[in-house]
């Protein structure tokens, strides 16, 4: 037993801010002080509040230190660990009440509305130690399944829970498993989709980094349910920490006999291998992913046949997302009814979102389905920084769409998001404020899909490119009103005729911005103006003669010499030469330069 536990976040966010060095310094100091028998220092997965990293929690006091630096380690050890005096200056200010007492973390705004199921072990256990996972009831669900339940009972339990695929499409997990179980065949496979490629999404990454054993355990349960003895985790090579921790976890599970032959002394055998993705977004599509595991170029193929009938190596296969798997052991242990009690009627349970963009608390949150966008953005996320006005939230990455400010009270679940022209997606949630141009956002996502289209089918390969060019015309101010209608027509054409999910959803960002922000498109086309002041070709910087004192500061800083004028006389910007870099506006001390 330890009298105190120091948990240091080892997620990607905090690691990139030196948390490894902090961890090492702590271990050294604790050892030097001879406290290593009574104080336990551990590295954990993501706590979620990435904006305030590196994060450290000291228990049993529950002191939540944020933005810790390596230099702070001595003070924390000297004051808190040795003398029992909490270092208040480093505390996350939300956790301290008016009287200076520490509030429970779950009472802070960021955590209050969250409900952690898939993330339950992230920020609690050391992901590189199987023993810690076991201490928190790890592998108990696998044991229960193998010794007490039949494969059909497992599938029934999952079906009853109402769990739907967390990768974005929301297909009922139990039904998928049932299809694979019913497919005839000696050899079947279980695959895990960890090829998380949406810009701004890092849910799966954090789960693999913080609780890899949960995914392994769930895949073994799935293997038992459908009758498979081999699984593959397809994970992006761009996630080095996730790959490393997953490899360690698989190795440890094998050592303990929790993967391999005759697990728990039963007839069931199951093993797992990792396959690394080479960075193609399309490999997150299920058929392309399987083609890639087989060793071919990652391209999708038409469905049917569905993977449950004919998947990896032509055998019946199930493919689920990391977050879907992370829910499975909990459903087995706590029961389908417990899981179904959370969320809305058609979307049970919780969903993890990666909050990013113009928001205070960038990070990872898990909320029950049915929570409104307002609660996520204002209560949990803390709103837009610098008092800017919230304009829209983008969910579902390049496949999703925008949720405008007037729909902010929509309860989030699969069906509601589709009804308003977006989609759940894997869970990236990018917040935009008044400074974001919606045409520019649509262009950004389309540029991404043009780049990532595999090229196999024409509607996607050529269609997205043409659509992108039309968007460029809009942002350049050369488009006509007919172009907008043409764009919409092309969007529908691409959606209906593309081979796989990538093409079928690629026009969504354009369609949803056209639907909710058509006035912005029209402003670009008709008035040749970008209301948010983002599209450079439509921008004009001007000097207000009344305010200009003729200090020459702008002229001296202009990189292209576009500003002329005599000392103590108003200056002028030559629009032909101006490259709209905005330096003059930044430098002017009199607010004499305006853009529009």
């Amino acid at each position: 037993m330890f009298r105190s536990h120091i948990l240091v976040c080892g997620g990607t966010g905090c690691t990139s801010n030196n948390s490894i060095k902090i961890y090492e310094a702590l271990v050294h100091r604790i050892y030097d002080e001879g406290l290593d028998k009574e104080v336990h220092v551990t590295q954990t997965g993501c706590f979620g509040l990435c904006a305030l990293g590196p994060i450290m929690i000291v228990y049993p006091e529950g002191a939540f230190y944020s933005q810790v630096k390596v230099e702070d380690v001595d003070e924390i050890v000297n004051e808190h660990i040795i003398k029992g005096r909490i270092v208040t200056r480093l505390l996350y200010k939300e956790t301290v009440d008016e009287g200076g007492n520490i509030k429970a973390l779950n009472d802070t705004n960021f955590y209050k509305k969250q409900h952690r199921v898939a993330l339950r072990n992230c920020g609690v256990i050391n992901p590189e130690k199987i023993d810690e996972y076991i201490a928190y009831d790890g592998y108990e669900a696998l044991g229960k399944v193998l010794t007490e339940m039949t494969p059909q009972q497992v599938i029934d339990e999952i079906s009853r829970s109402g769990l739907r695929g967390r990768g974005g499409a929301g297909f009922p997990t139990g039904r998928k498993w049932q299809f694979a179980k019913n497919s005839p065949g000696e050899q079947k496979y279980v695959c895990c989709n960890a090829d998380e490629g949406d810009p701004g999404a890092f849910m799966d990454r954090s789960i693999l980094e913080g609780d890899p054993h949960a995914v392994i355990e769930a895949m073994a349960i799935a293997g038992y349910a459908i009758g498979a003895n081999q699984g593959y985790v397809y994970v992006r090579a761009e996630y080095p920490i996730a790959v490393k921790r997953l490899s360690i976890a698989i190795e440890q599970a094998r050592e303990y006999g929790l993967l391999g032959k005759n697990i728990f002394g039963t007839d069931f055998s199951f093993d797992l291998d990792i396959r690394l993705g080479a960075g193609a977004f399309v490999c997150g599509e299920e058929t392309a992913l399987m083609t890639s595991i087989e060793g071919h170029r990652g391209e999708p193929r038409p469905r049917p046949p569905f993977p449950a009938v004919k998947g990896l190596f032509g055998k019946p296969t199930i493919l689920n997302n990391v977050e879907t798997y992370a829910n499975i052991p909990q459903i087995i242990l706590k029961g389908a009814d417990w899981f179904a009690s959370m969320g809305t009627e058609k979307s049970r349970g919780t969903k993890v979102f990666a909050l990013g963009g113009k928001i205070h608390n960038t990070g990872l949150v898990e909320i029950p389905m049915g929570t409104t966008m307002r609660e996520i953005i204002y209560d949990i996320g803390g709103g837009c920084p610098n008092g800017k006005k919230f304009k829209a939230a983008q969910t579902g990455g390049p496949s999703g769409g925008c949720i405008p400010a007037h729909l902010i009270d929509t309860p989030i679940d699969y069906d509601n998001l589709i009804a308003i022209g977006s989609m759940m997606g894997s869970g990236g949630l990018i917040v935009m404020d008044e400074d974001n141009c919606m045409v520019d956002i649509a262009k950004f996502f389309l540029e991404f899909t043009v780049d990532e289209s595999c090229g196999k089918c024409t509607p996607c390969r050529v269609g997205t490119k043409r659509l992108y060019e039309m968007l460029c015309k809009v942002t350049d101010g050369t488009a006509t009103m007919e172009d907008l209608d043409k764009m919409e027509e092309l969007c529908h054409y691409i959606k209906e005729n593309s081979l796989c999910g990538l093409g079928q959803t690629a026009p969504n960002p354009v369609l949803s911005t056209l639907r909710y922000f058509r006035d912005e498109y029209e402003a670009h086309v008709r008035d040749k103006k970008c209301p948010a002041g983002v599209c450079k070709k439509l921008l004009r910087y001007e000097i207000v003669a009344d305010k200009c004192k003729g200090c020459t500061l702008c002229a001296r800083n202009c990189p292209v010499g576009a500003i002329t004028g005599n000392v103590k006389e108003p200056h002028v910007i030559d629009p032909e030469k101006c490259i709209k870099c905005g330096v003059c506006m930044e430098k002017c001390r009199f607010g004499a330069i305006v853009k529009g």
């Binding site: 029992g84 810690e132 010794t147």
Partner: protein, 122 residues
């Protein structure tokens, strides 16, 4: 690992490694050892070690043992405070042996070790 029993045995063993990794719940017994300079000088560390060791041996998971700062009665250190059933008990002039007895008699069996209590000795 060949059976579910083995897994559960390992889990119970590991539970004590992760005890204290949360803020103490309302039904938990909280034990605090005064460990400012005065307490440490008077020998609080061996007392703390004894408490942890004894709780470990007996697989007590419903106990939170931690340190605190100066309690204010430096001449009576090492001081151990036990918060149990809504009551606070202050044990003074503790030694590792006395600490083990407090765990066994008071925390496990519910018999307060009144001979070490501050009230009995002042």
């Amino acid at each position: 690992m060949k059976s579910l029993e083995e897994l559960r045995a390992l889990r119970d063993k590991m539970k004590s490694q992760t005890d204290n990794r949360s803020v103490a719940g309302k039904d938990e017994t909280v034990i605090k050892v005064g460990m400012a300079t005065c307490g440490i000088a008077a020998g609080a560390r061996p007392v703390l070690d004894a408490l942890l060791d004894e709780a470990d041996k007996r697989q007590l998971h419903n106990v939170s043992i931690s340190q605190t700062g100066c309690i204010g009665l430096c001449r009576l250190e090492p001081i151990v405070e036990v918060f149990k059933d809504g009551q606070k008990y202050t044990y003074i002039l503790m030694t590792p042996e006395k600490a083990r007895k407090v765990i066994v008699d008071h925390v496990v069996n519910g018999n307060v070790c009144s001979e070490y209590l501050i009230g009995e000795n002042s």
